[in-house]
Each structure stands twice: as structure tokens, then as C-alpha cells.
Subunit: 127 residues, 2 copies
């Protein structure tokens, strides 16, 4: 699969794909004889993983660290487990914040929907 196809498949730019490889959150991608990237099944797995984690807010640094550990070998299994648990915890905290904000937004939306009918805002409490 060419870089173009991959970028279209995942809705991500070619630049970003090259960037991810350059900084090392995905391993070096297979190449054609001419030196062009030729994404295989395995490469796509890493791409998907990178996109999924990045879109949830996992840092580039954490992903670089994870790939490094993977490339070392089985002696890094517990280090990888630690890293994964840490990131999971961070995402969990982020989810809490997200939900807190959504609660606030839901309340506001309900107040504003009421206000649209009456033309006047009535707050339980400002914000």
C-alpha cells in the first residue's frame, strides 16, 4: 500500500505518516526497490495504533518510549506494562475531566433551551 492510499484510508496526511515514522512511534516501514514506502499489514497495525492513541491524547513521547521497549525484546515486558497502565490512568483522568465538562455543558444547554422559549435567561447560579 502506498503512502497515499494509507493517508486516504485513515484520513491523515502523508506528512504526518512520515513524521510518525521519523520520530519513531511506528517502526520503519517496508520499502519498494525504488525506496518508496510500501505499507504491509503489520505496518498498518502500527499506524492504526498510533492514530488511535494520538487521537485520544496519548503523547508522542509515550509512544516513542513504547516502541523503543518493543524493539528491545521480551526483557522489557514489565516496563511496557507499566507504561501502558500509566497511559491508561492518564486517559481515565482525562475522561473524568471530559465528563465534568459535558455535565456543565448539558446543564447550560438545558438552561439555554428554556431561555430560547421565554427569551430570558434564568440561572441557578452564574456558570
Amino acid at each position: 500500500m502506498t503512502i497515499k492510499e494509507v493517508s486516504e484510508k485513515y484520513g491523515i496526511t502523508q506528512d504526518t505518516l512520515r513524521y510518525y515514522e521519523k520520530v519513531g512511534i511506528i517502526p520503519p516501514v517496508s520499502r519498494t526497490k525504488g525506496g518508496k514506502r510500501d505499507y504491509r499489514e503489520e505496518d498498518l497495525g502500527w499506524v492504526e495504533q498510533a492514530i488511535c492513541m494520538r487521537s485520544a491524547g496519548v503523547s508522542i513521547d509515550a509512544l516513542i518510549e513504547y516502541l523503543k521497549l518493543c524493539q528491545i525484546g521480551n526483557e522489557t515486558i514489565s516496563a511496557r506494562l507499566n507504561l501502558l497502565k500509566k497511559q491508561r490512568e492518564l486517559l481515565f483522568e482525562q475522561k473524568q475531566r471530559l465528563e465534568a465538562a459535558m455535565d456543565r455543558l448539558n446543564y447550560k444547554v438545558s438552561v439555554y433551551e428554556e431561555a430560547e422559549k421565554t427569551g430570558e435567561l434564568i440561572w441557578d447560579k452564574e456558570n
Copy 2:
């Protein structure tokens, strides 16, 4: 309340508080005769709101826009409602991404926990 007290109360720097006011995601804060910020109940409401929204990932631009609309008056109620719904939708989408990543992490953690016992990794599928 001084800026120092507010920054300690919410665990945010004084610089950030001033920055939020400067860009306009909170309205101008009340001042003492000497020109120092003196946060009142109402100011704190805005501060809380800003912190809550920002920590969930709502953009500065959206918050600026919201405050602008608030300052215009009741004729912007439906515009504000639109804005709030849009942001709620964005947060909802972000929550989906977060959960997708958490699912992936949970799966990996379980695989790695198994691997720690056996010393060998067995993947259902790479990544």
C-alpha cells in the same frame, strides 16, 4: 481574593489566570483601588468554567466566542446555544476516541499481564 489565592485554590498559575483574562475567556476581573485583581464570587465562576472547559479540551477560541456573545446580550441566546451544542458534540466525539483507546489499552494490559507470568507474549493480532 488575590490572584495568588485563586491560583492556589485552583492549581493554576497566575500567568495563566492573567492570560485567560487577556485573551478574553473570562471577563475583566474586579480591581482594588491600587489596580490589583480582586476576584469576586462572579469572577470565580468564570475562572472555574474556563478551567473546566479547557481541561476537557475546549478551545480558547470557542471560549472567547462564548464570552463575546454573553457580553452582547440576550439577542445572542440562540447563537450561544448553538455554540454550546457544538462544543458538547466535539466533547462527545473526543470521548468516543478516548474510549476506543482505553479499550485498546485494556486489551494490551491484559495481554502483558499474562505475559509477565509466562515470560512470553501471545498476541491475538499484532497491536
